[in-house]
Symmetry: none
Subunit: 231 residues, 2 copies
């Protein structure tokens, strides 16, 4: 079980934003530590994730929550990674975390206050601290945007090609398309080296583009029509 | 130069959230297309990135902006990646984009409306479409959270700073190649909807493949020869 813990939220709307981004990435259990009073905006900003706000748990302190729930692995977050001399704030990146996190057991992903983040004392309760690489000009992310990035990295490592089962063209489909173009070139009275170049470029472009079966079909239809005309 | 384009924002605060997350990841030029009236909240939510809101540019339509600024590479975003049968919505993931994006030239990262995202017509203006992998239970992210994730991926791979000098085909070269293919199609007695599909697929394949100037030249030579034969 992964708990998402928001320590002392100050803005009701941010509770909703956090709930929404949790559901976007398959997380459901929200824990609020000593929160501001919830308002309509907490539910409104959650959009289609209102049930996450309704089903939240509340505790008085982070230490209390970690103890009562017997959390196996506590992940703190900070926008203020301290460098090597500030031990509680030595941090890993979100992709380091995603690669190494063992999701067996109970995990807490702990987000800090909007203004001040987590305290050193709270970070000392954590097994690891994660910090998002940012530009020096403005290193402090809004808390729910930081959460979205961390959730995204964790979600991403669970799946290999996650955008809607995109049906990449099979080798046969791509080969068929390339042959179709080669046949057109054969009818063009095109110098051999130019023909070879064009064929190579076309193959490479298809390879880099991760062309789908449907797209290969569309382009093949076009080349077939061209072939009829140049034969 | 990377432009961040927000098409028809409806909520003043989201303009501020977008500005903040831009600055967090080293992006500075905001473009608003036909926005709602800005309010104090647009500046308040930007926190220490107010100057990005003040320095925004505004245009009436996405097409107008892309044309006037002579954008070399337009990146659309969608929370509704269409699967293989919806050509304008076939998408890559943010890390695919980050790995392949050539940051020489002018790039537009285009975010959609809060409610409805970008239309098919707007997505057809784009060279590549990116979609964030999400959980099926609630696949639609808040627009500024989606933006943060994409900016983060680009920043992580150092793409918000120009690094190397790959010779990607210029807009004119790509446009010339696409027009060349369209002219061939015009001579083919090809049904209009098939012609449009083939044209969209071809543009997208070129976009996703990050075709070089040399490759564009080679393919254009081929289409020119085909054209001579089918005329």
């Amino acid at each position: 079980m992964i708990y998402v813990v928001f320590v002392e939220p100050e803005t009701p709307g941010n509770i909703g934003f956090l709930a929404r981004t949790m559901k976007n990435f398959g997380l459901y259990q929200m824990v609020l530590i000593n929160p501001c009073p919830l308002e309509n905006d907490s539910y409104y900003k959650a959009m289609h994730a209102r049930e996450i706000v309704s089903n939240r748990q509340e505790y008085d302190s982070l230490a209390e929550f970690l103890k009562i729930k017997e959390i196996d692995f506590a992940v703190g977050t900070t926008g203020n990674a301290g460098g090597s001399y500030n031990l509680p704030r030595i941090a890993v990146t979100p992709d380091n975390l995603a690669q190494s996190l063992n999701v067996n057991g109970d995990i807490a992903l702990i987000m800090g206050r909007e203004g001040d983040g987590l305290t050193n004392k709270e970070l000392e309760l954590c097994d690891v601290v994660v910090s998002i690489p940012t530009h020096d000009a403005y290193p402090v992310l809004n808390v729910t945007h930081a959460a979205a990035i961390i959730f995204y990295e964790l979600f991403k490592t669970e799946k290999t090609y996650p955008v809607e089962d995109l049906d990449e063209a099979s080798l046969t489909e791509k080969q068929g398309l390339i042959e179709c173009m080669d046949e057109v070139l054969d009818h063009l009275d095109y110098p051999a080296h130019k023909k070879k170049n064009a064929s190579t470029v076309f193959r490479r472009v298809l390879g880099r583009a991760f062309i789908s079966g449907r797209e290969a079909h569309t382009l093949r239809g076009m080349f077939r029509r061209i072939k009829e005309r140049v034969e």
